[in-house]
């Protein structure tokens, strides 16, 4: 319970600004990202594989759009998880996390911009060809021998117009939450008003409810409906588990990078990394719990209507990847983060964060791509998918850096009333 009284530095301290060496990367990253995205698209269309699913041929367009969805979801899930991180800190009136909350807020504020990158996915639905979401091809039901009544009922939910409207609602609601919380937090940088914290706290409860509904249904629509007939009530929680893990990784890794360039060096201590490490460990376990429960229940009951999704993933090369995920997404990070000696070393927390982000990408690839076909993608396809993701990541991070620099945003919530508590934070 030893609380030293820590006085924050002056709000104008240069160490609260985005380091110039990082800020200068913004525009180049956007440029490189755009180029890589374009190369990835072209490569996907030229070298992407074709596949045959139930007598229907799916070509490079399907592959490329699927890979694009993976890239988009990867970036989006980080921002989504960070939004939840911010909301839950306010809901719990957390003190320890104030020094890292701004980093999460920065990822969170990318949601409105990321929404623009969702447009290609919406356009694919309107092509009515089943190029990405197979339900958008109205003849899907006939091809798959689905009773007409059942298929007609499914189409009442899975149709281009309603899907678009829902997606827009999700993106508007999430953007609204992100902008609201970002604005108030930045306003507090200027005024330090306690009432801002009180407002953010008071609205965090309803905000978390909106967030939960949107995340559940977005996961159903954007990922689960790739397999039009498959369903799992757990799927929203499953997607959330991956996202919140990715968000903690992104926060830890970014904080480490900022510190390595000279920012917020005195503010974030080994104690905060220790806590982030604990959350990484906790969410690795939570993801495993959810993923295992979802799999085990479907495997055990073995009902034909719902085994399809895992059956697809237990064939050919996908089977290898499914087994690999057990080790890479659970066992290695579980053992690696078990010890407090690891969690108290910022460089190791950083390394595990990067590792888990890569695994998170692989998991999303494993969620999306088996719906394209039996192939993992081949050399050309995999390269295209990697370029698409790197390109998207370039746009995402470069855009953020550029935004932070233009708006002169500080990387620490400098006048948060709980900053002294966070500065003094110690693990017992």
């Amino acid at each position: 319970m030893a609380h030293h009284t820590h006085h924050p530095k002056s709000a104008d301290d240069p160490s609260f600004k985005l380091p110039e060496s990082l800020a200068a990367l913004g525009v180049p990253l956007v440029g490189i990202g755009g180029v890589l995205l374009a190369i990835g698209l072209i490569m996907g269309l030229l070298f992407g594989p074709t596949s045959e699913v139930h007598g229907q041929t799916r070509g490079p367009w399907s592959f490329t759009l699927s890979a694009y969805l993976v890239a988009f979801t990867f970036c989006f899930s980080i921002s989504l998880g960070c939004l939840f991180f911010v909301l839950i800190q306010h809901l719990c009136r957390a003190g320890w996390s104030v020094v890292i909350r701004r980093v999460a807020e920065l990822f969170m504020i990318a949601i409105p911009a990321l929404s623009i990158l969702f447009i290609p996915i919406l356009l694919s639905v309107w092509s009515d060809s089943g190029v990405l979401f197979r339900w958008s091809d109205a003849s899907f039901g006939d091809h798959h021998g689905i009773p007409q009544l059942v298929w007609a009922e499914k189409l009442r939910y899975l149709n281009s117009g309603w899907f678009t409207l829902r997606s827009v609602i999700y993106l508007v609601l999430l953007s609204g939450l992100a902008i609201y919380y970002f604005k108030l937090s930045r306003l507090q940088d200027e005024t330090g008003a306690l009432s801002l914290t009180e407002r953010m706290q008071a609205r965090s409860g309803p905000a978390v409810m909106v967030f939960s509904l949107v995340t559940t249904f977005a996961a159903f629509d954007w990922l689960m409906s790739l397999a039009p007939m498959w369903f799992s009530t757990m799927f929203g929680v499953y997607f959330f588990a991956g996202s919140i893990l990715a968000a903690h990784c992104a926060i830890a890794a970014t904080t480490y990078l900022l510190q390595s360039r000279g920012a917020i060096r005195d503010e974030v201590t080994v104690e905060h990394y220790h806590d982030l490490g604990k959350f990484l460990f906790g969410f690795v376990t939570f993801w495993t719990y959810i993923a295992f429960s979802q799999f085990m229940l479907i495997w055990y009951a073995n009902i034909p209507e719902e085994t399809e999704w895992f059956y697809t993933r237990l064939q050919g090369n996908w089977q290898t990847l499914s087994y690999a995920l057990i080790f890479f997404h659970w066992m290695f990070p579980f053992l690696g983060l078990l010890s407090r000696h690891v969690r108290r070393r910022p460089n190791l927390v950083f390394a595990w964060s990067i590792y888990l982000l890569v695994v998170h990408f692989v998991e999303l690839y494993w969620i999306v791509m088996p719906e394209f076909g039996k192939t993992l993608g081949g050399f050309g396809g995999l390269l295209a998918a990697a370029l698409l993701t790197l390109g998207m990541l370039g746009l995402y991070t470069g855009g953020l850096l550029w935004f932070i620099r233009c708006k002169q945003i500080k990387v620490l919530a400098v006048r948060d009333p709980r900053l002294p508590e966070s500065l003094a934070f110690e693990n017992l």
């Binding site: 319970m1 030893a2 609380h3 030293h4 009284t5 009136r93 003190g95 059942v150 009922e153 499914k154 939910y157 306690l194 914290t197 009180e198 706290q201 409860g205 409810m209 939960s212 509904l213 559940t216 159903f220 007939m229 369903f231 799992s232 009530t233 757990m234 799927f235 929203g236 929680v237 376990t285 719990y289 959810i290 429960s293 979802q294 085990m296 229940l297 479907i298 055990y300 009951a301 009902i303 209507e305 719902e306 009333p417 709980r418 002294p420 508590e421 017992l428």
Partner: protein
Amino acid sequence: MSLAIPQGLDNTVERPGERAPLVLGDSTYHTITESVSQIAERPPSPAWVIGFLISATLASWFGICIAYLIYTGVGVWGNMNPVFWGWPIVNFVFWVGIGHAGTLISAILYLFRQDWRTSINRAAEAMTIFAVICAGTFPGIHVGRAWLAFWLAPYPSLNLWMWPQFRSPLLWDVFAVSTYGTVSLLFWYMGMIPDLATFRDRSKNKWRRMAYGILALGWTGSSRHWMRYEKAYALLAALAAPLVLSVHTIVSFDFAVSQVPGWHTTIFPPYFVAGAIFSGFAMVLTLMIPARSIFSLEKLITVRHLENMCKIILATGTIVGLAYGTEFFIAWYGQVTEEKFAFVNRAFGPYWWAYWTMVTCNVISPQLFWFKANRTIPWRIVVISIFVNIGMWFERFVIVVTSLSRDYLPSSWGYFSPTWVDWSMLVGSFGLFFTLFLLFCRFMPVINMAEVKATLAGQIHHHHGNH
């Protein structure tokens, strides 16, 4: 040592940047010891005696019913074809759920360093153990030949020459619940050792001193003892935290691994865990609020503690509501005839009254906690908590009975009606639970004195640090 906090201070208000006190009034280490110890040292109050007599009578009735059941056979219950799992399993799942608050408070809130847990963890843990006892009774007698229940233990039996069926989730339950019960008991007992030593040292009578002396395991309060204690406590907390999730996850597997429509759905594990915490906290509040007022513990179990628990009930109740909604939506989205039927049947079939009782109590009533008045006026909290408890019992009833009574074969459909033995056992299990809880209040330290003192010390330190 006293921290001058004005009398009647509202510690539910916390200005950002400050932390509201958790121990109120002019409390000192001495007054904490006094106010907790006097509960066990003074002669019992009339309220306690009356409560105990009623509870013990009901508990005895429970025992008589069990004897009658074992003597006659499980036919005395309303269980029938096709509802082979009737009230006994409903009661089992209900009581396991109640047993979730205690270890959540002492393990998970400990790991999250929530200091407010210190005033409530002891009594909540006790409730956990008593609830697990009530829960364990039901499957024990539901097996029919209760004297052969030991066949559930994994040993190569000489009678049978075979092991239990490890593929059955009912066997996983045996392990899950018994592990949880054991670890919770250890956790509860170990946490009590310093306080039991306080009781021992205050004892004026030889027998009492001897009894508490044995239980206190020679505790002297030396720094070496404290060091080992702290370490063991942290280790047990880390071990118990996953157990809080695993028990109800495995109880949910009892249903979800099957193919019964309405039982088999993947969201069951986290949804059951949320529901268990929801009902557990409701039970803690239902008992803690009267106890706090009877034993004059308002300075230690403050309105802030009550309010925090209400917020957890609101959060978990809303998660449960989201799960109900998700199940309903996916039943339609999945377009599986039987699944769709199961859910429509729940809401509009012969058990519609149970379903809507559940929704009203579990989803709507906790929403009242959005209003601060409902979170801070004790009698309102008790009323809402009782509604939550009723709702959670009905949730298990809805799951068990509606799905079984109308499954795939319409020719075997039926309607379940409880018998007087079912009713008696439900009421009797409450009698057992209350009896154990009242005995605990009478003989054990109901509040973790040592930890509350540490909280007070932190408060004083912090208070002075700011000046």
